[in-house]
Each structure stands twice: as structure tokens, then as C-alpha cells.
Amino acid sequence: MGWISPFKLNRLGMLNMNRRNVDYISRYNSRESYPLVDNKLKTKLVVAEYDVPTPGLLQVVRQQHEISRFKLMADKLDRFAVKPAKGSGGKGITVISGREEGQFVKASGAVVTLGYLERHLSNILAGLYSLAGSPDVAIVEDLVESIPGLARYSFQGVPDIRIVVFQGYPVMAMLRLATKASDGKANLHQGAVGVGLNIATGQGLNAVQFNRPITHHPDMDLALENIVIDDWDQMLAIASRCYEATGLGYMGVDLVVDAQKGPLLLELNARPGLAIQMANGCGLLPRLQTIESLRRPHFTPDQRVTFVKKTFGAV
């Protein structure tokens, strides 16, 4: 691996970490909105008012003694996910994809007991997965069934779509596919594949894994060029609406496409990463600056989406 000159990066309009923090996150994201996105439960409740669909909420476990109620409910369920409300980067999420002789089968295929899940819940409550170890609540959600068209590109985990939304304008998007290396997680720094998407059409552009360009999924050996995301306009509208819901000027919106319910919001991120630029093969800065220089911003999500499709569609 070599080095690239900063002037070249500048010409590409690559946003760097320092600039993202100083010029975008600290300028456009107000502190009081952070708890909204750092807590999945709060996110779920607030975006619901803006017609943003999320996976169905089955139960919230707030106290240690409520774990017994979880036992009653879990007995009747086949497929669900247990998440810490304040977890970040997919930490502490346990996905149960089926039952086997009364035991629970994890997405990885491992069979676990109810006791394991109860311990997991009490770990979540103690704040094991939360930022700074503060006490947390656990949420139990419907398991998202990824549409088969996308699911075949992902190793185990559900593929999700990250859209960076700047002042309500969806500016850049990528599809994140889990791999063996990422252990079924969709985080790029853990080895997931990122596929850049044309913001206007939802069509695949480039793909990267571990910051290196690839053309095929390393585990499935499927070409990544021809991926097209269905319901793309709807996804852009959902992402755009999250701006009104949270007031965060610069955020990452993580969406999944459910086989039955269509696009759903998984979580919001107030500090979206920079790898999306590498998956798209272009920098964020020119697009962000285009929007910053708008003299008349658009006030409705639909207008913003139309503007984005018109302005950033040509690659």
C-alpha cells in the first residue's frame, strides 16, 4: 500500500475525519439531538411520528426483574432480535432465527438456551454494550426478513443501506454486505463489503472491502456491479424525513428492505463514517458544498429528493 498526495484527495473532494468533525458534525448536529440517535428506542418512537417505518417492537426490558416477562413472550416466538438501545456499531445484537427442541438458534447457527439470552439481557441492562458503560435498556424486535434479491449477496447478516443525509438531502448511499470476515456484521471496518450506489437510481457503482476495490463478493462469488435496489425513491424519502424527525444536519441513515414491509429504518448515526466515499469512488465535499451554497433550501422531503436526483444523479 502506498500513499496518496493530499492535493489529489483535495481534487477528489474527499471529506476527511477532522473536517467532518469540525465543519459538519459540530456545526450541523446539535448536542441535544444526540440522545435521539444514540438510543434506538427513542429513535423508533420519534421517527414514527414522521411516517418512517421501523421493525416491529415486541418488548422493552428496562429492569432486571422484567427479564422474567421476556421468558413468557420469547416462548411463543420463533424469530426475533435482541438489541441494546444504546449500542453502537452492531455491538450486543443477538439475532434468533429459529427454534430447535425448545432451544434458540442464532443466526450463526449456534444453539443457545434461554439462560444464555437472560444473561445477555442482564448484560445489556448493566450497560456492557452502551457508550461509556451507562445503564441501558434492551429492546426485542421483529426479525427483518431481507428480500431474497439482496439477501443472496450477504453472508448470513441482513444487508443494509447507509444513506448520508445532509440538511435533509440524501447525498450519498452505499449497500453494506456482511462477509465471513466481518462475522455476519455489516460494519465496513470489520470487513463487510461496501457497494457504492448511484444516489439517483440505486444502482451499484463500485465495491470495496477493507478499503480495497473488489468486483465480486468474497464469499458468494457474485458480481457486485449489477445490484439494483428496489423501492429506491421510497428509501430516499424515508432518509430525508429523518431530518425533520431528529433535526440532525449531518447523519447516516441505516435502512433495510424487508420482504413483507418494504424499506425499514434500522438506526440513525450522528457520526457517519467516511468509507462511503471509497465505495462510491468520489468525495462527499462537492455535494455537501453544493447544498451549503443553496440560496433557497427545499422545505419538503419530496422536493429535496427530486433536487438530489437531478443534481447528483449524473456520475
Binding site: I4, P6, L9, L12, N16, K91, G133, G281
Partner: protein, 506 residues
């Protein structure tokens, strides 16, 4: 919008940095605090020792001590004499050290120490009041001899100085041609005679006692010097060779013609001198002198010694913070915990680098192994961290004892590491291990250690601790730089590598 809001910010930074630098320069010029700690100046430590036998009566010992000796500056004075009351009394231009005690019996020793700094600017000081010659009276036959000698000297001279030189020569044994000179001169009264004769001719003259400064000499005596007053200042002559001027290595201990030691209530008294040449950093000099100067208000030397030591450490922290900020913002090294590297670096300062590194790595490694077992116990977070803290203390105690038994004192230095910080480091590393794999643990661990070592190297530079402690205002510069880095929006060094694949799209 950006340019308007940032100009006051940059102005403030400029102000901070220039204020820091100019204050430091000003204090350097005014107080003479050196920029480097290595600058040293010689000083003489002279010790007068008084021995006497107490007779059981109240004792008052009064020693003449130097007052404005030509060519030297007095840096400090101190007396060591257990059980005695001590004070320095100044009267009519004479300074005397006085010891007193109610009942004294048996052999006694009193010490008086003075630190002298050579200073040529103090060579020519005029007395406050012009002295007058003291009239002298001789009986026959000495009177004739005196007149005869003075006549001879007068004919060969033109000024008071030359008269003095000639007179000294005439009084030397090999030149005693004049009759009755032998009658006049004896070794005992020589100095007294000389000054009396000069006074007789109308030249104010006196005897001064000087000390030849030679390194590490003990039991030295004072040597007499002749001083005459030429109307402006006292001139010094060697009473045997008639050489004019004071040798550079002589300090005049006693200048006024008064007694060296007055002792009441003791006998068999004796005064002797020993001396030592020391070189002390010019810093200490200026520090000792700045207490009287108004500019010393910024000096931390006014604090008690204990607090000084604490501040010495505290004032190094901004330097560590600067390095951490630089490494994270500009270079882009990932560390585990933002300021953990500084705390580790501070611990390294106490333990020195290599033993510190070994101790730290072994404590964390052992801790990680034990943490592995803890994680299989499924404990709640708080109790797991608490258990970890106790384990870390066990590990450090074990390492210390094992090191001590094997004869390494360095094992003991483990205790300088902040236990709670180490426990949290282990916990974080362990979670990182489980979630991101060993690779990330090594990257962040190595990054933290690298930054800690850099911070340690900077903090342990002698010039760093010297500057931060003696010029606390320089921290304004550090603050300015850190604020400036907070506005850095350029690429990190590591991002140039990370974004390297983007080359394809240029």
C-alpha cells in the same frame, strides 16, 4: 461565514502565543533566568569555624562577617550552631554575627557559612563617608626613626600610592639601612606600625583581612592587607611585596579595623576558615535573587518545596497533551482511551522507560489473561471492573515482590502506574479483542504505547521540565497550539494511506 467567524479566533491565538513568548523573553532578560538548564556559574562557599572552651558562664560570641567585599556578591549566609541564639547585627557599617547562650561548658564549635559570587562590577565602590587619618604619637627614639623613614619614602614618591609602596619597601628586612629601623619594626606590630605611619603622614590607612580562595582548603587563616584611602576609594596593597591591587582570588573578610572575634564567657578561642568552590546552575542564582525582585511574582519557586515538586510534574502534562493532540489530529494514530497515553507517560517518567515499558506490558498482558477468565463468569460490568482493579493490584504487588526477590529494584516501580487506568485499559482491550479481534488490540495498544513513549521522551527532556517550570507562561503557547490544532481540517497522515485506493478515480 467561515472567514468572518475565524479571524477573531486566530487573533486570539496570536495574542496568546505572543503573550506567552514575550512574557518569557521579558523574564529571561529581567531576572536572568537562563533558557537552558545547563548554564552554570561558580560560587564560593566559605565557612568560618569558631572553636572555644566554655567556662560555664553565659557566652556572647561576635564574629566580624563580610560586608560588601570588593569583587564579590553575597548570595546567602547561614549559621550552624545548635542551641545558640543567632543574629546578624549591623552597626556603623560593620556586620557582625552574634551567637549567645546562657550556660556553656566544654569545647564548642560555631559555624558561619557564606556563599560568594564573583562579580567584577562590585570592585570599585566608594565608601559612604570619607575616612579621616587617625593621628599617631611616638616617643623617642622611635619618633626620630619614623620621621627618618617617612622622609626617605617621601623623597622617592609623589602620590599617596607611591609613598605607600616606598614605605613598604623600606620596612622590608633587606632594606633596613636606616638606624633604629630594627628598633622600630618587629613581626608582631608590623601591620599596625605601617598603618600608623601612613596615618601620621595624613593618609587614611587601615588593615584588612583577606582570605585566599582555593578549592577545598581547610583550616585557612586570614592574611592581612593594607588599605589606604586615596580620596575616592580604598586601595589595597600587599603589605610585604607592596604590590597594589587585590588579587582576584582574595575575598576581604574584614575591612574595618575592628576585631575579628569578640568572645565573652569562653577561652582558647580560635577562628579558622574552609572553603569550597561550587558550580550551581545560574538558575538557582537568579532564583535566589529574584525573591527580592518584583518580577519574581510568576516564579513557582516561592511555593514550598513539596508543592514545587508536584507542579514540576503537573506543568509537564500540557506538553503530553500537545503531543497526544498532534498524534491524534495530525498524524492520526489510534490510541485506546484519549489521554491514557499521557498517564502512562507520566508513570514512565517515574519508572524510566525500559523498566516502565516492561512493567506496563506485563501487567496488561497478565491482566488480559485474567480478564479472559472473568468474562467467562458473566459478571455485571461494575463488579467486573472492580474485580479487575483488585487483580491489577495483585499483579503489581506480585511483580514488585518477585522483582525485589530477584534483586531488581525496578520491579517496585510498577506501583507508579495508575491502577484504575490500567484496569480500564485491560477492560477496553479485552472488549476490543472480543469484538474486533487481536489485530485491532495490537494496533491500538501499539498506538497508545507509541504516543506514550513520544510524550515521555518529550517530557523527560531536561530542557522541557526546565522551560515548563521556570517559564510557566510558555503554557500559553502550548494552549494556543492546541487550540490551533482543534481547527485543523486537513487530512491526517494516516488518511493519506487509508484513501490511497482513491488513486484509481483521479
Amino acid at each position: 461565514m467561515t472567514s468572518r467567524s475565524r479571524i477573531p479566533f486566530y487573533l486570539a491565538i496570536l495574542l496568546l502565543i505572543s503573550a506567552g513568548i514575550s512574557l518569557a523573553v521579558w523574564r529571561h532578560l529581567e531576572l536572568g533566568i537562563p533558557w537552558l538548564s545547563g548554564e552554570r556559574e561558580p560560587i564560593w562557599m566559605v565557612e568560618a569555624r569558631i572553636d572555644f572552651d566554655g567556662t560555664g558562664d553565659p557566652v556572647l560570641a561576635s564574629l566580624n562577617v563580610p560586608s560588601e567585599p570588593p569583587g564579590f556578591r553575597i548570595l546567602s549566609e547561614q549559621a550552624a550552631s545548635p542551641g545558640y541564639g543567632f543574629s546578624i547585627v549591623e552597626e556603623a557599617g560593620n556586620r557582625r554575627a552574634e551567637w549567645s547562650k546562657r550556660v556553656v561548658e566544654g569545647p564548642q564549635t560555631l559555624y558561619f557559612k557564606v556563599q560568594l559570587v564573583p562579580d567584577d562590577s562590585l570592585l570599585r565602590e566608594a565608601p559612604k563617608r570619607d575616612p579621616r587619618p587617625v593621628p599617631a604619637f611616638w616617643e623617642e627614639p622611635q619618633a626620630t626613626a619614623v620621621e627618618e623613614l617617612l622622609d626617605q619614602a617621601r623623597t622617592r614618591s609623589s602620590t599617596p600610592e607611591s609613598l605607600t609602596r616606598e614605605l613598604i619597601k623600606l620596612l622590608q628586612p633587606e632594606n633596613r639601612q636606616v638606624q633604629n629601623t630594627t628598633l622600630l619594626v618587629s613581626d608582631v606590630n608590623y601591620m599596625n606600625l605601617l598603618s600608623r605611619m601612613l596615618n601620621h603622614t595624613g593618609i587614611p590607612a587601615r588593615t584588612a583581612d583577606g582570605l585566599y580562595l582555593e578549592d577545598a582548603r581547610r583550616r585557612q587563616d586570614l592574611r592581612p592587607f593594607l588599605q589606604i584611602f586615596d580620596g575616592e576609594r580604598w586601595l589595597t596593597f600587599n603589605p610585604r611585596t607592596a604590590e597594589q591591587g587585590l588579587p582576584e582570588n582574595v575575598v576581604l573578610w574584614r575591612q574595618a579595623s575592628i576585631s575579628l572575634l569578640d568572645l565573652v564567657g569562653g577561652d582558647e578561642s580560635d577562628v579558622s576558615f574552609s572553603m569550597l568552590r561550587q558550580t550551581i546552575p545560574s538558575l538557582q542564582l537568579s532564583q535566589a535573587e529574584s525573591t527580592e525582585n518584583g518580577l519574581g511574582f510568576l516564579s513557582l519557586y516561592q511555593l514550598p518545596i513539596e508543592e514545587q515538586g508536584m507542579f514540576r510534574m503537573l506543568l509537564l502534562l500540557p506538553l503530553g497533551a500537545l503531543i497526544v493532540a498532534f498524534m491524534r489530529i495530525v498524524v492520526g494514530i489510534r490510541t485506546s482511551g484519549t489521554f491514557m497515553p499521557i498517564l502512562i507517560a507520566v508513570a514512565f517518567v517515574q519508572t524510566t522507560l525500559v523498566p516502565g515499558l516492561i512493567a506496563f506490558v506485563s501487567v496488561v498482558a497478565i491482566g488480559l489473561l485474567m480478564r479472559g477468565y472473568l468474562s467467562s463468569l458473566n459478571l455485571l460490568l461494575v463488579s467486573r471492573i472492580s474485580a479487575l482493579i483488585i487483580l491489577v493490584i495483585f499483579i503489581t504487588a506480585g511483580l514488585s515482590i518477585a522483582g525485589y526477590q530477584m534483586g531488581f529494584n525496578t520491579g517496585m516501580t510498577v506501583t507508579f502506574f495508575p491502577m484504575v487506568i490500567i484496569a480500564w485499559t485491560i477492560e477496553r482491550m479485552s472488549i476490543l479483542w472480543e469484538e474486533e479481534g487481536v489485530h485491532e488490540v495490537f494496533i491500538q495498544g501499539a498506538g497508545s504505547l507509541f504516543v506514550a513513549v513520544c510524550a515521555y521522551l518529550a517530557m523527560s527532556l531536561p530542557v522541557a521540565s526546565h522551560l515548563t517550570f521556570n517559564f510557566p507562561e510558555l503554557h500559553l503557547v502550548v494552549l494556543g497550539l492546541i487550540l490551533l490544532m482543534g481547527q485543523y481540517t486537513g487530512y491526517k497522515l494516516t488518511e493519506l494511506r487509508r484513501f490511497n485506493p482513491m488513486k484509481v478515480y483521479t
